[in-house]
């Protein structure tokens, strides 16, 4: 072996390994590690791979249920039954730090990674979602320009990868807030479909079975990216640039097709993608899951670059690669399929019975580690959590009323609330002929033809609520996702989540994480939606501090019949418009307060599970009875924003004449408060009586607010009235992001 650097205390520290962890490594090995082994431990025991700071919290999630076929954590992604022998595998993954350093490639390789996680399960990926957070993009100045550059780059990167590979990106969410400046969040979601009997396992089964490496050649790109994701971003992060990987969606498309073709042959004993920590992670995890050992020879690994050391080869995060354990005697099947697809492949090793991960280089052993200990025995830390301190409620007297006539268009123009068409029109959201409800309604609806099922999917998280009250914010994130599904006519089945937080060594950050996890867990239990898996991204900080805690929720539901598919926009003139739920009050933590008054304050709205559930059941009941024409939940921006979106978000805008009567209170409070458990529905005039009867018998509070029609959106309230011509409102909302991005210099 060539001269490896010495194992000095500095080298150990540089690998992010604490003295305590180092002695544990010595205990496991019964000796000092060599340099390659040190590198291997450092990536496997990074937060990204080992969840050493979050595991005790993650155990709080409900992960079981009658429909759960593969549990979270067992494999790359959980698998949920959707009936008739069909199942879905879905998961969310973050690529925050790579995207901060190189937005286009960072986001692109994030998409590539999550897609591999899904087809590794034997599922054909059918659609993607994405959940994004950036610093503010309106205004001038260097940081705003940089935010725009990051935003444009991330969107282009997601588009590049998803469009090329031919998986539609059908939904997502985007918010802009100071706390993400310098540390954007890029969370990507992929869902795949499979038959129950097609579930593939990531275990190295069968001693003597050959181990194949397939896919792209290994290069020096992305060395130790997992460790990179497990650190705070600093000015020096630019020095981490070799950590940037370049994605090749074309390769991945071939890899996807070849792997699915191979998995259909019964020649595969186990399969595992090479994501974070590449060869290292895939070899030790498959061995650990199989209760076996794996021995590979690096000299056999297809390589793109000359003279790579074992250390570099083991830690490389080159994209578009997989490890496949093949049943002995079936090697020809692999050869035939990978040659057909013109993909590199090589037999690089064999499954052993000794529980060791043994890495050779031209026959000389360069690393030898007990696989299960490496994969599963990372230290677990119980971090200190600062107790939650409830924020002071907002004193409304300190909030000057902005005339709603002005406030509504201003909110619609705010990039967090404006139409996201500038983003999703860059995504191919129609390929695969399943996009029944395209982006732009509460949830996307996708027809999975092979299974004959309509799936609905959404991603949600109000991080402002989570900042002010992480537990309540997390509960609301789940409730809002379920509400979006209910409005679309769907019954939720399961959840994936992405926990984006700051450095867990700081007690206030860890306190937020704990509160949020408990809130998510409680809500997932209540809605009967097990967590199928997800991702933890800690150390999301910039020099200015931690991000607002952002536990993103991705939720999937099923719609029983095509006729139940419901969208948020008004469908014609003369329909009755109802509010389900209460007008409510309180501008605490509202987007009105944040966007127009610049204040992130107050006690977020409270969520009452029973009230929320009644709303969902009522909505689904009305939809299944064929009684309503549109349904839209009230979220950021409150009732006025929801109503405006009902008017302007469809292909053909429809006006509305709304009379809220004599509700007492300030107009801005009534129109923009974000009281939970509410939705706006529209009903054909001849169904109004039936709807009111149904609502009354369900015990659902409601308010008949007015009628659709005309070319204006009008609200009357306690003797005041505001009229907004639709064309102006629509233009404010529809073109807002495009104006910011196209008419200002984005570079």
């Amino acid at each position: 072996m060539s001269a490896d650097p010495a194992i000095t205390p500095e080298a150990i520290a540089r690998h992010g390994i604490t003295p305590g962890e180092y002695s544990r490594i010595r205990e496991i090995l019964g000796r000092d590690p060599n340099f390659t082994e040190l590198g291997i431990f450092s990536v496997m025991w990074s937060e990204h791979c080992s969840y050493k700071n979050s595991k005790p919290e993650l155990r709080k999630f409900p992960t079981t249920g009658p429909g759960v076929l593969v549990k979270a954590g067992e494999e790359n992604a959980g698998v949920i039954d959707i009936g008739d022998g069909w199942a879905v595998a879905f998961k969310m993954e973050s690529h925050n730090h790579p995207s901060a350093v190189e937005p286009f490639q960072g986001a692109a390789t994030g998409v590539g990674g999550i897609i591999r996680d899904i087809f590794t399960m034997g599922a054909r990926p059918v659609f993607n979602l994405n959940s994004l957070r950036f610093g503010p993009i309106h205004g001038d100045g260097a940081s705003v320009k940089n935010n725009r550059r990051l935003f444009a780059g991330v969107v282009a990167g997601i588009a590049h990868y998803g469009n090329c590979i031919g998986i539609p990106t059908i939904g997502g969410e985007i918010y802009f807030d100071e706390s993400y400046e310098g540390n954007p969040l890029v969370n990507v979601f992929c869902l795949g479909v499979l038959r129950h009997e097609q579930i593939a396992r990531g275990a190295a089964e069968g001693v003597g079975n050959p181990v194949f490496y397939v896919g792209a050649e290994t290069g020096r790109d992305g060395l130790a990216g997992a460790a990179f994701a497990s650190r705070e971003l600093t000015e020096e992060s630019k020095e981490d640039r070799p950590a940037v990987q370049v994605g090749d969606p074309f390769k991945e498309k071939l890899l996807l097709e070849a792997c699915l073709e191979l998995l259909a042959t019964d020649a595969v004993a186990g399969i595992q993608d090479m994501g974070a920590a590449g060869l290292t992670c895939s070899t030790c995890e498959t061995a650990s899951r199989g209760g076996t050992g794996v021995e590979i020879d690096l000299a056999l690994v297809p390589r793109r670059e000359q003279a790579m050391t074992p250390y570099e080869t083991m830690l490389s995060e080159s994209q578009e690669r997989m490890l496949i354990i093949v049943k002995k005697g079936r090697e020809d099947v692999v050869r035939r399929i990978f040659e057909k697809w013109d993909l590199p492949y090589a037999e690089v090793g064999v499954v052993k019975d000794d529980g060791m991960m043994r890495v050779n280089d031209h026959g000389v052993t360069v690393a030898e580690i007990p696989a299960a200990k490496l994969a599963d025995d990372a230290p677990i830390y119980h971090r200190e959590a600062a107790p939650f301190v409830p924020p002071a409620p907002l004193d409304p007297a300190t909030v000057a009323e902005i005339d709603p006539g002005v406030a509504l268009p201003a909110l619609l123009r705010h990039p967090s609330l404006a139409s996201k068409n500038w983003v999703y029109r860059q995504y191919d959201h129609m390929v695969r002929l399943g996009s029944v409800v395209r982006p732009g309604s509460d949830a996307a609806v996708f027809l999975v033809r092979e299974a004959g099922k309509f799936l609905a999917a959404t991603s949600d998280c109000n991080a402002l609520y989570c900042k002010l009250d992480p537990r309540e914010g997390a509960r609301i994130a789940v409730a809002e996702a379920a509400r979006n599904l209910a409005c679309s006519g769907a019954e939720p089945i399961a959840v994936t989540d992405n926990l984006n937080f700051g450095n867990p060594h700081k007690p206030e950050n860890f306190g937020q994480l704990r509160e949020a996890v408990e809130g998510l867990a409680e809500a997932c239990r209540f809605f009967d939606t097990p967590v199928t898996g997800g991702n933890v991204s800690l150390y999301n900080e910039s020099p200015a501090g931690a991000i607002d805690p952002t536990p993103t929720v991705g939720m999937v539901g099923i719609i029983r019949e095509e006729s139940h598919i419901t969208t948020q926009y008004f469908k014609g003139a003369g329909d009755a418009v109802y509010l389900l739920g209460d007008p409510g009050s309180g501008l605490d933590a509202s987007h009105y307060l944040k966007a127009l008054h610049g204040r992130k304050e107050g006690l977020p709205p409270r969520l009452d599970f029973a009230t929320e559930k009644r709303l969902h059941d009522t909505l689904r009941g009305l939809i299944r009875a064929g009684l309503i024409r549109s349904a839209h939940d009230c979220s950021e921006g409150g009732l006025a924003l929801a109503l405006a979106e009902c008017c302007i978000s469809g292909e053909a805008p429809w006006g509305a004449d709304i009379d809220l009567g004599n509700i007492a209170g300030r107009a801005d409070d009534i129109l923009f408060n974000e009281t939970q458990s509410r939705a706006v529905i529209s009903v054909a005039a001849d169904r109004a009586a039936a709807v009111e009867t149904a609502l009354t018998s369900a015990g659902q509070s409601f308010l008949r607010m007015g009628t659709t029609g005309g070319s204006d959106f009008r609200i009357r309230l306690a003797g005041r009235a505001w009229t907004w011509p639709l064309a102006g409102l629509r233009e404010a909302w529809y073109g807002a992001i495009s104006r910011l991005m196209e008419e200002t210099n984005t570079q």
Binding site: A156, A159, N163, C164, I165, G166, D248, P249, F250, K251, K253, L254, W341, D342, Y424, R425, Q426, Y427, D428, H429, M430, V431, R432, L433, S435, V436, R438, L447, R449, E562, E742
Partner: protein
């Protein structure tokens, strides 16, 4: 009547085309890019996607696949060839169609519905349409801006080779209705012999009510009606 849907490495609308043609009653088969023969097929569809990753130029590398020699032969024999999106790019690169497709003027990939005005019904690809008819069909491309020099444009217009143009919902040709900056709003052209047609929009994405529109059927039905033993569903 037999239709072939070609599959290149990186094709991703192959299944969609198969599905739409099958739905309309065609006998559809996939043909792998390494095949050298297309004997027995009356219609050859070159589907959308990112053949060879669209590296270098869209369609530039696919054009050299073995199956493309068979496509050229089929075209010369007068059989029907339809290129959609990336397929259109490939047919232009293979010189089966005039012109080329370059970056959208916005520099962004665009996925959205557009309106198309049918310029002529005198082709096997548009015979189920009426001239001037407006169709709503989605696009999804980053490099769909049609370019040809003035002389070529004049010539293809004189020969009635422009089959569809981007237009406003009322059929008027406006700059705002041109999504990508295509010269003279051209969305699709055929060859001089009128048996090879390429267009950027995706008719296969607009063949079912559940997907929000059925105008794509006008084009695909035209095709099937032009073939021997169409056997079309009364769709």
């Amino acid at each position: 009547m037999r239709a072939a849907v070609l599959r290149f490495p990186g094709s991703n609308c192959d299944q969609d085309c198969h599905l739409a043609l099958d739905f309309l009653g065609a006998d559809v088969h996939y043909v792998w890019h390494k095949e050298e023969s297309l004997d027995g097929f009356d219609l050859i569809v070159v589907p959308g996607g990112f053949s060879y990753g669209d590296y270098l130029r869209c369609g530039a590398i696919a054009r050299f696949s073995p199956v493309m020699r068979a496509v050229v032969r089929a075209a010369n024999e007068g059989r029907l060839v339809l290129g959609i999106c990336n397929g259109f790019q490939i047919l232009c690169e293979a010189r089966l169609l005039p012109g080329a497709l370059v970056r959208n003027r916005s520099l962004h990939f665009l996925c959205q519905d557009v309106h198309l005005r049918v310029e002529t019904a005198a082709t096997p690809f548009t015979r189920a349409c009426t001239p001037g008819q407006v169709l709503k069909i989605p696009i999804a491309h980053g490099e769909g801006c049609y370019f040809a020099d003035d002389a070529t444009l004049d010539e293809i217009e004189a020969n009635d080779q422009v089959l569809v143009r981007y237009c406003a919902p009322d059929g008027s040709l406006t700059d705002g209705a041109n999504p990508n900056g295509s010269r003279r709003s051209i969305a699709g052209v055929c060859n001089r012999e009128r048996n090879v047609f390429g267009l950027m929009p995706h008719p296969e994405r607009a063949c079912e009510p559940v997907l929000g529109g059925t105008d794509g059927r006008f084009l695909l039905r035209s095709l099937l009606e032009s073939l021997p033993n169409p056997g079309i569903h009364a769709a």
